[in-house]
């Protein structure tokens, strides 16, 4: 038993420490929150580059006008658990808030109470639409308007009209508020035109939690570089990322490295769970691309694999029930370097009741012309045009499967991708699976350790009368001595 306790105590610090209150649970007395556990922007990157970061109230926290006293730099403001402050009492319209008014987004303190030190980054690929004295707007390719407030204007590293990639540096978190400084934090909110009825500030909290969990799980080591001959990228390595609800990713035994993950296929326009293997190649070349299957965990007859390679994307519909252990997708050209990946999605169009399984274990690249063997001057085929799938049961994407997403497309007049996914993956984006701990990865067993625990806490008091107090609070905060 002592050994078991020791095991618990030796979990990675971040995994053990990160806690968050549930969505909608505000500081008592600060209004009535919205208990909404929907992830409105799946696959987004946490908007501050490095952990830790602390989502909590500026006005009702220490140093805030309505807080318990103290100063903004008090340790309690820089500790877990996170607390939602979407819908915190404000005077102005917020239709999705129970009170009809409230705070539009989430306030996030960076790792330390240091001004102009911590980097804010792009949450999704998209276009910078405007830059003000303390605001930067980013319209993502998936159609969400991300708003960043209080970055230091001198540090803003993007320009109006610039296209950015997920993870790109945007600016430094600061107390900028034009001529009247505020506390050191990033106000972050999300706007979408919903149901063709008008724009809504959608809840941010769960999207931030998921993206923060991904950030915390990211290993320190970089994604492995594949040598010229190719290699295997396994789900246990730093190049693998699993997205979507952790509870619906399951662990299994077998495959590469002895363990694998799987989930059930379902019917949906967009994926609920999806996995990505980042590919970083030492040199350019054509490769046979194959995916590892283990029959017990691979039964979907139409799994969608998308391969990003050499600046383009190729889709394959794969019958995973065919004999393995490797199923070849095709022969594709890859560039040297990163921004290349393979993804698999769970929205195959097969009803969940059929219990068809999608496996996420390993992928393999094998150089078409082995390294060191002259190719006898044979002209290589044109890049990926008309390359026939090599195995039966593998077909380029057909019309029978829903596109993962139809995004709003990028800016700059580029036509939108007809099948844009919420996450494109970028160089330097070294996420890891949203699973916390393999623990006992028994056959078919659900991963057992949740990524975060909920505190027992107080439910926020019913909507307090919104007022100008928050504005006065900010006025008071600026007068507080900086720590």
């Amino acid at each position: 038993m002592k050994r078991a306790l020791l095991l618990l105590l030796t979990l990675p610090a971040n995994a053990q420490e990160f806690r968050h209150d549930p969505p909608g649970q505000l500081v008592p007395g600060s209004g009535q929150g919205r208990a909404d556990d929907r992830v409105y922007v799946p696959g987004m990157r946490f908007p501050i580059e490095a952990a830790p970061a602390f989502a909590n109230s500026q006005v009702w926290g220490n140093g805030g006008l309505n807080g318990p006293g103290g100063g903004q730099c008090d340790a309690v403001n820089y500790s877990y658990p996170w607390r939602d402050n979407y819908c915190e009492s404000r005077q102005w319209d917020m239709p999705l808030c129970p009170a009809g008014t409230g705070h539009q987004g989430q306030d996030i303190r960076p790792a330390t109470c240091e001004n102009r030190r911590h980097r804010a980054v792009a949450a999704e690929n998209g276009t910078i639409t405007s830059i003000g004295g303390y605001s930067v707007n980013l319209m993502s390719d998936s159609g969400t308007l991300h708003r960043y407030l209080h970055m230091d204007p001198a540090s803003v590293a993007v320009r109006e009209g610039q296209q950015v990639r997920r993870g790109d540096f945007m600016g430094l978190v600061s107390n900028a508020f034009n001529d009247t400084p505020t506390t050191i934090h990033l106000h972050y909110d999300l706007q979408q035109n919903v149901n063709g009825q008008g724009t809504v500030f959608v809840p941010t909290y769960m999207s931030l939690i998921r993206s923060y969990e991904e950030l915390l799980g990211r290993p320190a080591e970089p994604c492995d570089v594949l040598p010229a001959a190719g290699g295997v990228v396994d789900d246990q390595g730093p190049c693998f990322h699993a997205f979507g609800p952790p509870a619906t990713w399951r662990a299994g035994n077998g495959g590469e490295g002895g363990t694998l993950r799987w989930t059930y296929a379902w019917v949906s326009a967009n994926p609920g769970n999806w996995a990505r293997w980042d590919l970083h190649l030492a040199q350019a070349g054509r490769h046979h691309v194959a995916v590892r299957v283990v029959p017990e965990f691979a039964s979907s007859e139409r799994a969608l694999y998308r391969v990003r390679h050499q600046g383009q994307q190729t889709d394959f519909i794969v019958d995973l029930s065919q004999p393995g252990p490797w199923i070849e997708l095709g022969e594709l050209a890859f560039a040297a370097g990163g921004d290349q990946w393979i993804e698999v999605y769970d929205n195959t169009g097969e009803n969940r009741d059929l219990e068809r399984r999608i496996i996420a274990d390993a992928v393999r690249l094998e150089a078409v012309v082995p390294v060191g063997v002259p190719d006898m001057g044979v002209e290589p085929p044109p890049p990926d045009q008309g390359v026939e799938p090599r195995d039966r049961g593998v077909a380029p994407r057909d019309e029978g499967v829903e596109a993962p997403d139809q995004g709003a497309g990028g800016g700059g007049g580029v036509e939108g991708d007809a099948a844009v996914r919420p996450d494109r993956g970028v160089v330097g984006d070294r996420g890891v699976p949203p699973l916390q701990d393999a623990g006992e990865t028994g056959d078919g067993q659900v991963f057992s350790v949740p990524r975060a625990t909920f505190d027992d806490g107080c439910q926020g008091a019913p909507g307090g009368g919104a007022s100008w107090w928050w504005a006065l609070g900010l006025l008071a905060l600026r007068r507080r001595p900086k720590s």
Binding site: M1, L5, L8, D37, R38, V39, P42, G43, D93, P95, L96, H103, Q104, G105, I128, T129, S130, G132, G133, Y134, N137, M139, G143, L145, L149, E160, F177, N178, D179, T180, H187, Q192, N193, V194, N195, G196, Q197, G198, R210, P245, A247, R250, Y264, W266, S268, P271, N273, D353, D405, A408, G409, G410, V414, G416, R421, P422, G439, V446, V449, L474
Partner: protein, 185 residues
């Protein structure tokens, strides 16, 4: 100590795997919404442009506006200073003015979220009435025209003292001042 360890283990014990119904619900909560283009009311937009007479824009700006596949609206009083950034289904116009910056975003795409429709209806969405919000002294008016959704943000150099960032009257006046200056089906 043994009791503590046992409690810890119980706390971290494997949760029961979700059943099929639970699984679909979990996945649905984290799946991206479908995004589709809005239905643009081009006849109404063109009629409004003819009636209003548009606005006089610098040549390069006019060309840029005319090339967009969305009705391009700008406040007539500030239109000449606008800077446009656009994507296939949206545009943004930054309109600097003395001591303040106005930003207009137009959304020609929409996220399909049926579960929110009732709340939107209850809050008066679709009624044509503008909605005013304010965060960190950024005042925003949200409204719809010709099938597009718009937001008009006002950011003030002196956010705590400039009435344009506390009283929505000026921002609402800009919304009333909007004219169709470009765009094509």
């Amino acid at each position: 100590m043994k009791k503590l360890a046992l409690l810890a283990l119980v706390g971290s014990a494997a949760a029961a795997p979700p059943n099929a119904v639970e699984e679909v619900a979990l996945k649905a909560r984290e799946a991206a919404a479908v995004v589709v283009p809005v239905q643009i009311d081009w006849p109404a937009a063109e009629a409004a442009r003819a009636a209003d007479g548009g606005a006089i824009l610098p040549e390069s700006l006019q060309k840029q506006a005319d090339a967009l596949r969305l009705p391009v609206l700008l406040p007539a009083s500030l239109a000449g200073s606008a800077r446009l950034v656009a994507g296939p289904t949206w545009y943004a116009a930054t309109l600097p003015t003395d001591g303040a910056q106005v930003v207009l975003h137009a959304f020609g795409h929409t996220h399909v979220r049926p579960e929110l429709l009732a709340e939107q209806k209850a809050a008066g969405y679709g009624s044509g009435e503008p909605r005013v919000s304010r965060v960190h002294a950024l005042l925003q008016v949200a409204f719809e025209r010709f099938g597009l959704a718009f937001t008009l943000d006002v950011e003030c150099a002196s956010p705590e003292t400039d009435p344009r960032c506390s009283d929505p009257a000026w921002a609402l006046g800009l919304v009333d001042d909007l004219v169709v200056v470009g765009g094509r089906p």
